[in-house]
C-alpha cells in the first residue's frame, strides 16, 4: 500500500520535472520538553512517560490546470499531551486527486466538505485540537445551471490513521434564487435555499437492542438578504440513532438554528437562537470523545479573545440545549467629537445556553436504553442552566502611538455539566450537586508605539470566581523589537484558588522569530489545566511545565 502511495506521489511529481504545474508545501512541527513539576502535578499524574514529545505534518499540493492532487504526511513521536492519544506513529493520512471538467468537479481520496451550516454533515480539520474527520471516498460537485448546485459524497471518515466503520452517503442541493429570478437582485434581494440528506450505514450487532443498520438525516435551509438585513435559518432531522452519546435511546433528533443580522457602516446587530435535541451524529454509534462526528453543532456563544475569560469556554451540548445570542456593536464616527480622530467602538454581547425540556415517557421511564428516551416540549425551557455570558467592550485609538481597550465579563458557568460532563437527569435528581460558577472579569489592554518601529503591548486581567478556579490575576507584556522578533512574558497568579496549595503562579516567556514565511516560536513555562477551544470545539489540556518549540513554514 505504501509503495503504491509513493508511486502515485512520484507520478504526480513527474510533470513538475518538465516545468508543468505548481507545487506548494505547508509545514508545521511542534515539540515540548516536559519538566517534572512537583507543585503543579504533585502525584505525577499528568507527567508523560517520555520527557520529549513531538508531532508535525507537511501538506504537499500539486496543481496543473484543472487537476490538483496532494498528500499530507503526519508524524506523532509521540503525540503531545492534551491531543487525542489515538494519533500514534507516522504516515500519509491524507491524499487526494481532484479534477474539474466543465461544470463538474470530481475528488477521489480524502476531502473536506460541508452541507449548509453542517447540522447533518461537516468533515473538517482543526489541527490545533487534533481534530480531523476527513472523508475517504469520492465526491462530486456539479453546477446544474440556473444557480442550482449539487454535491454528492460517499466514503468513510478518518479515525486517526484508519477509517471508521460506518459508510456515509450524502447529497446536497443549493439554489441561488437570484439566478433564475434576476428581478430579485434588481430589488436588492438575495435569496438561497437548500436541502440535504445523509445516510449512515453501520451493521448493528446487539443481543438486546435492535440497532438500525441505516440512519438517515435531512436538513433544509434558507437565507435571505435585503438591504442591510440578512436572515438565515436551518432545520435538521435525524431518525432514531441509538448511540453511546444518547444512552442508546430511539428518540429522533432535531436541530434548528436561526439568525438575523443588520449591518450598516458603524453599526452591527446580531440576533440568533437555536434548539438542539438529541443530534449527536457519528459514523460509529459507539464512538466517543471527538471521534467520527458526522455533523457539526455550533454553539451560540462568542469565543473569548483573552486568556482568563477563555478559561471558561462553552461548547455545544450535543444531547440537547437551547439558547440565544444578541450582539450590538456601534462605532462613534471617526473625526467626531466623541469618537475622536480614529473612532471609538462599543460592543455588547449577551448569550445564554440551557437544557431543553425533558419529561419522562408515558410509562414513567426516563432515558432508558432501548426506549424512546424522553418527551420534550419545544415551547418549554429546560431547568438546567449551562452557560450565560454578558460582556461589553470599549476600544479607542487615541493616536498613532497609543490605543486601548477595556472589556468586562459576567459569566455563569455550569462546571458540573461543562467540565465534569454530568448529564441533566443526574442533576435534576440531585439538584444540590449542580455547581454554577459566577465569574466576573475585566481586561485592560494597551498598545504603545515606541521609537524605531518597536511596539509594546500589555494586558492586565482579573477574574473573580466564587468557586472552581477561584480568583486569578494576569499580566502580559509583548515587546515587538522588530518585524522579525517578538518577546512576550506573562504570568497568571491563581491567588484565590479554593485549595491553598493550588494558589500558584503560571509564568510563561516566549520568543517568536519570523524569517520570511517561516515562524519559530520557543516558549518556557507552566501551562495550567484547562479547556482549549478553537472555533467552538474544545479539548481538555492537562497541566504541564516545560520548553515548547513550534515551527511553521510554507513554500
Amino acid at each position: 500500500m505504501r509503495a503504491a502511495q509513493l508511486a502515485l506521489i512520484a507520478y504526480l511529481l513527474m510533470p513538475t520535472l518538465h516545468g508543468q504545474g505548481k507545487v506548494s508545501v505547508l509545514f508545521q512541527s511542534d515539540a515540548q520538553w516536559y519538566l517534572e513539576d512537583e507543585v503543579l502535578d504533585p502525584t505525577g499524574e499528568f507527567y508523560p512517560d517520555e520527557e520529549f514529545l513531538g508531532q508535525g505534518h507537511a501538506l504537499i499540493t500539486y496543481k496543473s490546470g484543472d487537476f490538483t492532487a496532494g498528500f499530507r504526511y503526519e508524524n506523532y513521536q509521540n503525540v503531545m499531551l492534551g491531543f487525542p492519544t489515538g494519533y500514534r506513529g507516522e504516515g500519509i493520512a491524507y491524499r487526494y486527486a481532484q479534477w474539474q471538467q466543465g461544470d463538474w468537479n470530481f475528488t477521489v481520496g480524502n476531502y473536506y466538505e460541508q452541507f449548509g451550516s453542517g447540522l447533518i454533515f461537516r468533515s473538517y480539520e482543526e489541527r490545533g485540537l487534533g481534530l480531523d474527520n476527513a472523508m475517504d471516498g469520492v465526491r462530486l460537485i456539479g453546477d446544474l445551471g440556473n444557480g442550482l448546485q449539487i454535491k454528492a459524497v460517499m466514503g468513510r471518515q478518518r479515525l486517526y490513521f484508519a477509517t471508521g466503520e460506518g459508510v456515509l452517503r450524502g447529497v446536497d442541493l443549493g439554489w441561488d434564487l437570484t439566478q433564475p429570478f434576476p428581478k430579485l437582485s434588481d430589488k436588492g434581494i438575495y435569496a438561497n435555499i437548500g436541502a440535504s440528506f445523509v445516510s449512515k450505514f453501520q451493521r448493528g450487532y446487539d443481543p438486546i437492542l435492535n440497532l438500525p443498520n441505516n440512519v438517515g438525516a435531512w436538513a433544509i435551509r434558507g437565507d435571505v438578504s435585503k438591504g442591510l438585513w440578512n436572515w438565515s435559518s436551518e432545520y435538521a432531522y435525524k431518525i432514531n440513532d441509538p448511540s453511546y452519546d444518547n444512552g442508546y435511546i430511539y428518540r429522533p433528533g432535531q436541530a434548528l438554528i436561526s439568525t438575523l443580522t443588520f449591518a450598516k457602516k458603524g453599526f452591527g446587530l446580531l440576533l440568533s437562537g437555536k434548539r438542539i435535541d438529541n443530534m449527536s451524529f457519528r459514523s460509529d454509534r459507539n464512538a466517543q470523545q471527538f471521534d467520527l462526528f458526522v455533523n457539526f453543532l455550533p454553539s451560540n456563544t462568542t469565543p473569548h479573545l483573552y486568556a482568563l475569560p477563555s478559561l471558561y469556554p462553552y461548547a455545544t451540548q450535543i444531547n440537547g440545549e437551547q439558547g440565544g445570542q444578541v450582539e450590538v456593536s456601534y462605532q462613534l464616527p471617526r473625526g467626531s467629537r466623541l469618537g475622536g480622530k480614529y473612532g471609538t467602538l462599543f460592543v455588547l454581547n449577551a448569550s445564554i445556553a440551557q437544557s431543553i425540556d425533558k419529561q419522562a415517557l408515558d410509562d414513567g421511564s426516563m432515558a432508558q436504553a432501548g426506549s424512546m428516551g424522553y418527551q420534550s416540549d419545544w415551547l418549554k425551557a429546560g431547568e438546567v442552566p449551562y452557560f450565560q455570558d454578558i460582556n461589553a467592550s470599549w476600544s479607542r485609538k487615541y493616536s498613532r502611538s497609543y490605543k486601548t481597550m477595556l472589556t468586562f465579563y459576567d459569566l455563569r458557568y455550569n462546571k458540573t455539566v461543562l467540565i465534569d460532563g454530568v448529564g441533566d437527569a443526574v442533576i435534576l435528581d440531585s439538584p444540590n450537586m449542580d455547581s454554577v460558577i459566577h465569574v466576573q472579569a475585566v481586561v485592560w489592554e494597551n498598545q504603545f508605539r515606541l521609537a524605531n518601529k518597536q511596539t509594546l503591548r500589555s494586558e492586565i486581567q482579573l477574574a473573580l470566581a466564587d468557586g472552581y478556579r477561584g480568583d486569578m490575576a494576569m499580566g502580559l507584556l509583548e515587546w515587538t523589537i522588530s518585524s522579525n522578533w517578538t518577546l512576550a512574558a506573562q504570568d497568571i497568579y491563581n491567588y484565590g484558588h479554593p485549595t491553598p496549595s493550588r494558589r500558584l503562579h503560571y509564568p510563561i516567556v516566549s520568543v517568536i522569530h519570523f524569517n520570511g514565511p517561516t515562524r519559530f516560536q520557543v516558549g518556557y513555562g507552566r501551562q495550567q489545566q484547562g479547556v482549549f477551544c478553537v472555533g467552538g470545539v474544545c479539548r481538555v489540556v492537562p497541566p504541564s511545565n516545560g520548553l515548547s518549540i513550534s515551527i511553521t513554514s510554507s513554500l
Partner: protein, 178 residues
C-alpha cells in the same frame, strides 16, 4: 521512509511559487457563491485571512483601515478579507465588519477550503498579489507595526506596476511608430 524523504526533497527542490487564487468556492456576505479565482484586480491586491475570534487578525485589519482609503486612491489597492469563521461565528462577520467601518471586500471560507488551498496554517495570514495575480509577498503573523511593512510593500508594488505600465506604453508607442 528514505524513499519518502527523497521525494519530499525532490518536491522542495522543484517548488514553484504559487500564483493567483485557486479555483475554490467561497461566499459573499450575501451568501452568494463565487470562485476565489475570480478575485482579480488591475493593481496591488491584498488577501488577508482572518476570523472574528482571532485577536491579531482584528488588530491587523483595524490598523490597515487607517491606510486603506489613501492606498485605494494612490496605489489602486484592492483589499480582500477572507473570514475563516465557521458556522458558529460566520453570522457575526457582516455586523462585525460593518461596525468597524472596514471598507474591504469580505468573503467567507466557512470550511477552510480556500485556506487549505492557499497553504494557510494559522491566521492571520496575508498575501500581496500583483496585477498578474502573482503572490509577491506574504506574512503569516501580525505584530503591531507590521502594517507599515505591508503598506511599504503595496506602495513599492504600485510604483513598479506604474513603471511597467509606462514602459509598456512606451514600447507599444515605439512599435506603432515603427
Amino acid at each position: 521512509m528514505k524513499q519518502f524523504l527523497s521525494l519530499c526533497l525532490l518536491t522542495f527542490s522543484l517548488t514553484v511559487v504559487s500564483q493567483g487564487l485557486p479555483d475554490v468556492t467561497i461566499q459573499t456576505l450575501k451568501k452568494q457563491s463565487i470562485k476565489a479565482s475570480e478575485l482579480t484586480h488591475d493593481g496591488p491586491m491584498v488577501v488577508s485571512f482572518w476570523a472574528t475570534w482571532c485577536k491579531p487578525c482584528i488588530s491587523e485589519l483595524d490598523a490597515m483601515a487607517d491606510y486603506h482609503e489613501d492606498l485605494v486612491a494612490d496605489a489602486n489597492l484592492r483589499m480582500v478579507a477572507i473570514s475563516i469563521d465557521n458556522a458558529r461565528t460566520s453570522a457575526r462577520v457582516a455586523p462585525f465588519v460593518a461596525s468597524r467601518g472596514w471598507n474591504y471586500d469580505v468573503y467567507i471560507d466557512a470550511n477552510s477550503d480556500l485556506r487549505r488551498a492557499m497553504g494557510v496554517n494559522n491566521v492571520p495570514h496575508t498575501f500581496l498579489l500583483n496585477a498578474q495575480g502573482e503572490i509577491v509577498w506574504e506574512s503569516n503573523r501580525y505584530v503591531p507595526g507590521e502594517e507599515e511593512v505591508l503598506v511599504e510593500q503595496i506602495e513599492a508594488l504600485a510604483h513598479n506596476e506604474k513603471l511597467k505600465l509606462n514602459r509598456g506604453k512606451i514600447i507599444r508607442g515605439q512599435s506603432t511608430q515603427q
